[in-house]
Subunit: 310 residues, 2 copies
């Protein structure tokens, strides 16, 4: 199954304790599709300005990413400038220039309206709803969101939640959205708002997947908990969450199954993809990644987490 | 194999968002030995005051814990008063009354000097060294420490590290001790100081075990990473780390093996024991825990973390 991905394509300027990069290719849709394209075909729906470098378009095309939905509009491309401290845990945003993204009204090309797998990157929930309405018969809809929309656009966000299958959020977003301090209670409360699958991203601490209540079987558990990949070098955490979502949804769509076993395996592949992303700046590592390297690290992750499961 | 455990036995007054308890049985040696005693025999070396309630002695004895090394001295028992905020992540110490603990000079009873397994709870590293010198031929020595000793008693701590097999520390202690920000580098640097096994405790985020460099075999990984047990109710995190160490070392000593497979399994059992402790105040849950409940939760943990390991 191929995936339609809506979100930002940006030029990122990032500084971390390991160095800095100016106006490098970035954005949620970029990381998501670069990661997912290792497993399946992805079409991007996004907007860039007239100044968007040709080499970035070529890069995306070289990954086999469908660019029919990548609008080029008069004006400048969305830019983000951020900085990470020594612990690399949270980005400090220094500047956000929305530019052409400010008036972004995503249009799904006619040829993609029959798509069945949809990833709604972190944009205004009204736009996420609008994109969803353009897809004729979606089979699996995943979305990301953030504190800004939870605080300021809760009503459209709730409408969206009622219509999606999978939500990606981090710890604090889950707490904010649910009003629950305990993360297990928070995730269960979010499941009750609509998405039958909730994935809590915890950065360097791993992730938790809350699986559908039904169909777990007698021996099943509703939760899948996994650590992140221990890494001796982390140079730039930008895009980790979107790479996670891309590896997760890409591998899931490639297999075409959404049972608990497939979801668990995909969460590990999301973790693997994110681990590659953060080892270098921007897309420097993800851009040259091979499926053999992904498979090798999946095996390493399996050994890292093995305790003699019965 | 039985274990000798040196550390604090205390009266804890704790307040959390779930309630409060005054002067309840606590202390590192108490949690450690209550957890470890589910797997093997433990002897405590500790000190209490004249005011230490008889019922607490009876409780420890009822768990089969050896109390020959539990000195009763003139004066009052060590008391700790603390409080946790809504996120339950870190205790705020309101009051520490060392009392008889201030002049504690642990004496290992003659009958225990031939013991082979030793747990040196978080006390002055000079005392930890002193206890170690009283054991004739230790086979496995594990220790805990804290920021206070790393900052103020680094030299004796380093002497200790050179003589132990396993160190338990949390993230920030590992960073402080090694001077490395990256947690993988920090753990490897600590291994180079002596302990061939380093266990990084991350509270609600799980743990990482750095295994001996040798003997991992061709397919082995030097790291074992595991999440914590997802819990919908956490009432009091006090004693989680010591329960973890007790479950870990107790199950390891019971099996008598220290190969990678045994260490991984024991880290999971440590996680399981800690998960029970935090569900209730103080020793309320740990005190009534059965091996059948431990085994059941071990199986749940295995399913929670299973992704189809090959």
């Amino acid at each position: 199954m191929s995936i339609v991905c809506v979100g930002s394509v940006a030029l990122d300027s990032v500084k971390t304790p390991s160095g800095e990069r100016g106006e490098a290719l970035g954005g949620a849709a970029t990381y998501f599709s670069a990661a997912a394209s290792l497993f399946t075909h992805v079409d991007i729906v996004a907007v860039v300005g007239e100044d968007f470098p040709r080499q970035h378009v070529d890069f995306l095309a070289s990954k086999g990413i469908g660019l029919e939905g990548l609008e080029r509009r008069p004006g400048r491309t969305f830019r983000w400038t951020g900085e990470y401290g020594f612990d690399l845990n949270e980005a400090k945003t220094l500047k956000t220039e929305l530019n052409v993204f400010e008036s972004f009204h995503p249009k799904v090309p006619a040829a993609l309206r029959k798509s069945e797998w949809l990833f709604l990157g972190n944009i205004d929930p009204r736009l996420q709803l609008d994109v969803l309405s353009q897809i004729e018969k979606p089979k699996l809809v995943a979305a990301d969101t953030m504190n800004y929309w939870i605080a300021g656009s809760l009503e459209p966000l709730k409408k969206l939640l009622a219509r999606i299958d999978l939500l990606f959020v981090n710890d604090s977003e889950a707490r904010q959205l649910s009003g629950e301090t305990n993360i297990v209670k928070a995730a269960l409360a979010i499941q009750a708002m609509g998405p039958r699958i909730v994935c809590i991203k915890r950065g360097e601490y791993g992730a938790m997947l809350f699986l559908p209540r039904e169909g777990q079987g007698r021996d099943g558990e509703q939760i899948f908990a996994l650590p992140s990949m221990p890494l001796a070098e982390v140079r730039d955490p930008t895009g980790a969450g979107d790479s996670f979502a891309g590896g997760f949804l890409g591998s899931l769509a490639a297999g075409g199954r959404t049972d608990a076993q497939a979801l668990r395996r995909s969460a590990v592949l999301g973790t693997v993809l994110a681990s590659f992303t953060v080892e270098q700046f921007g897309l420097e590592r993800l851009g040259s990644l091979t499926t053999a390297e992904v498979e090798e690290r999946f095996q390493i992750f399996s050994r890292l987490t093995w305790h003699g499961h019965v």
